[in-house]
Amino acid sequence: MATVEHASAKPAAHQTSTGLDNAKIAMWAFLGSECLLFGAMISTYLLYRNHGATGTPLPHEVYDIPFTSVSSFVLLMSSLTMVLALASIQRGDHHGTRVWLIATALLGMTFVSGQVYEFTIFVREGFTVRSSPAGSAFFVLTSFHGAHVTVGILMLLSLVSMSLRGRLPTERATAVEYVGLYWHFVDVVWIVIFTIVYLVPAK
């Protein structure tokens, strides 16, 4: 869904009943639905975390917590750069906006690459999306999250492209704000996943 670029932005004088932008309310509503999306997948994982299959490893036998911790830190830092990007555009520093948006996208790409690398290790060790209910739950959950990060990266790069073409003036800082909202949400979901899936010990 294209929730970022609003070439047909409403005139700034448009009064709304709450004083908030329509797009902001829509983004929050969308993020509310995403909470339930990830909630259902996390619940599935919680049910299946110990449902293995003979001959295949359980999740906790293959996790590399230090590696994933570094990945998580990278994603966390991307939220910081996102905030810096928003601050830049709000004070009219367009070069800075692009720098921080690209930094956010790069950190996001690093995270996704780390995930993909981890997955190849797991598959090599016999923990796959098909190997057991635990495997199915883990890979679908983390892949959906990775897909969300990827969509976020595409939105960030779109903002950079718009800024380079002069189509992202300070008046449209809200576009950066709403992409930021989405990005922070995806990061928070990762914090929850990392805690519940990786850190909470198996029985």
């Binding site: 609003h6 047909s8 639905s33 003979t54 679908v140």
Partner: protein, 471 residues
């Protein structure tokens, strides 16, 4: 069943996106003076439904993806070679969606009834804040009852008891609404036009369906009822007798506003009576059949069980419903040209849509109204004298900005500085990719799925980049 999984994912996307849209509209685009507690009940029920959609659809979406992956990729969510997956997970996820879904189905109809009854009783809705609050309560409580669809699965006595209690509790706000509707009618000046008949039918039929629902809430009773036609009777009473009757009430009520012509009321009454008789002939016997032990979801039943008679009655009822629909379609056809012209306010109604022309202009209102009270339009038309009788206000029907009929034919949006959003190809283009993705994934034609994905993406990008207006 891959069509099932992917089809419902696609339909779920449609409803989720619409829900975000309607929710934002109700929260943010109300006319000046229209606080939340001055909104019509139909709008309140719409708002609750959008919240339910936003939170319930993702849960079934997850279940459907998991089902799709099980079928296509060999994952182990619901079935596995070595048996460590749990098929009951499907039921939990499905009914976590499925129960809020039934409130999604019924609340709009309840909202419609809450609009129609006051107009055709010429009395305000009794207990507006309580009706609103009950709708909100149903929205919240609906999340806590899902496993009443799973009493026979073997969840254990603790779980069964908890859900039995929550299910009995949720009957309370529903009952509160019914009492408020009855109180609205009490002492009113009742006009038995077609919209009113359907709303009254709703109250009667939905109450019956609700009562059978309460009997399911008691676990030992449900052990006998579940998977029998008694359940089929229950949900058809609430869904057909409830939702469908309520929706037809809305169709007859708002038809003149939408088309500018009234449906023929006599034919409408014939439709109603045929439909309610046919409906009861079809579904009432199912209570008996169910308690006699007729199993549901099976293509035939054996001779010698005594099910024959009521099944035949039920079939006759089904065809009676079909006949009633033919009557409705005839009404639509007949009044296309010859129907009575409606005017702005044919029912002497209470809410803002009746202040504008029938049908409304593209921009809906000449001037956005300023709202001073609940049922603002009604209070502009009538005041009450010392004995509480209605006294028409001489120029009340012409509200400020209300010479709608006079201006409508001359007005152009441009001339009045009203900018309406421009048309666009892109929503259609983006949507076209969805079935392509679906067919591609179903038949493992990955190229087709990718083509579909590209169609969607290009539609979305073009959507974002197209100019704002061509005025």
């Amino acid at each position: 069943m891959t069509f099932y999984a992917l089809g419902l994912i696609i339909l779920g996307l449609s409803s989720t996106v619409a829900a975000v849209n309607f929710l934002t509209t109700i929260i943010n685009l109300r006319a000046p003076g229209m606080s939340l507690m001055r909104m019509p009940v139909f709008v309140w029920m719409t708002l609750v439904v959008q919240f339910l959609l936003i939170f319930a659809l993702p849960v079934i979406t997850v279940a459907l993806f998991q089902l799709f992956f099980d079928r296509t990729l060999g994952t182990n969510f619901f079935s596995s070679a070595n048996g460590t997956s749990d098929p009951v997970l499907w039921q939990h996820l499905f009914w976590l969606f499925g129960h809020p879904e039934v409130y999604i189905l019924i609340l709009p109809a309840m909202g419609i009834v809450s609009e129609v009854l006051p107009v055709f009783a010429r009395k305000p809705l009794f207990g507006y804040p309580v009706v609103v609050f009950s709708g909100i309560a149903i929205g919240f409580m609906g999340w806590g009852v899902w496993a009443h669809h799973m009493f026979a699965v073997g969840l254990g006595p603790v779980a069964n008891t908890a859900f039995a209690l929550s299910t009995m509790f949720i009957a309370v706000p529903t009952g509160v609404k019914i009492f408020n509707w009855m109180a609205t009618l009490w002492g009113g000046s009742i006009r038995l036009k077609a919209p009113m008949l359907f709303s009254l039918g709703f109250i009667a039929m939905f109450t019956i369906g609700g009562l059978s629902g309460v009997t399911h809430a008691i676990v030992p009773s449900d052990y006998q009822q579940t998977d029998t036609y008694y359940i089929v009777a229950h949900f058809h009473y609430v869904l057909f007798g409830g939702a469908v009757f309520g929706l037809f009430s809305g169709i007859y009520y708002w038809w003149p506003k939408i088309t500018g012509k009234l449906l023929n009321d006599t034919i409408g009454k014939l439709h109603f009576w045929l439909m309610i008789i046919g409906f009861n002939l079809t579904f009432a016997p199912m209570h008996i059949l169910g308690l006699q032990g007729m199993v549901r979801r099976t293509y035939r039943y054996p001779k010698g069980y005594g099910f024959d008679f009521w099944n035949m009655i039920s079939t006759i009822g089904g065809f009676t419903i079909a006949l009633s629909l033919l009557v409705f379609f005839y009404n639509v056809y007949k009044t296309r040209k010859e129907g009575q012209v409606a005017g702005n306010d044919p029912w002497d109604a209470r809410t803002l849509e009746w202040t504008t022309t029938s049908p409304p202009p593209e921009y809906n209102f000449e001037e956005i109204p300023v709202v001073h009270a609940l049922d603002d339009f009604w209070h502009r038309k009538y005041v009450e004298d010392k004995e509480g009788r209605l006294v028409p206000v001489p120029s009340g029907a012409q509200d400020p900005g209300g010479d709608q009929a006079a201006h409508a034919t001359e007005a152009h949006s441009e001339g009045h500085g009203i900018h309406m959003p421009s048309q666009s190809y892109m929503p259609l283009l983006a949507a076209l990719g969805m079935p392509l993705i679906g067919w591609g994934l179903t038949f493992h034609q990955w190229w087709l799925a990718i083509v579909g994905g590209l169609v969607v993406l290009s539609g979305l990008y073009a959507w974002a980049l197209e100019p704002a207006t061509e005025e």
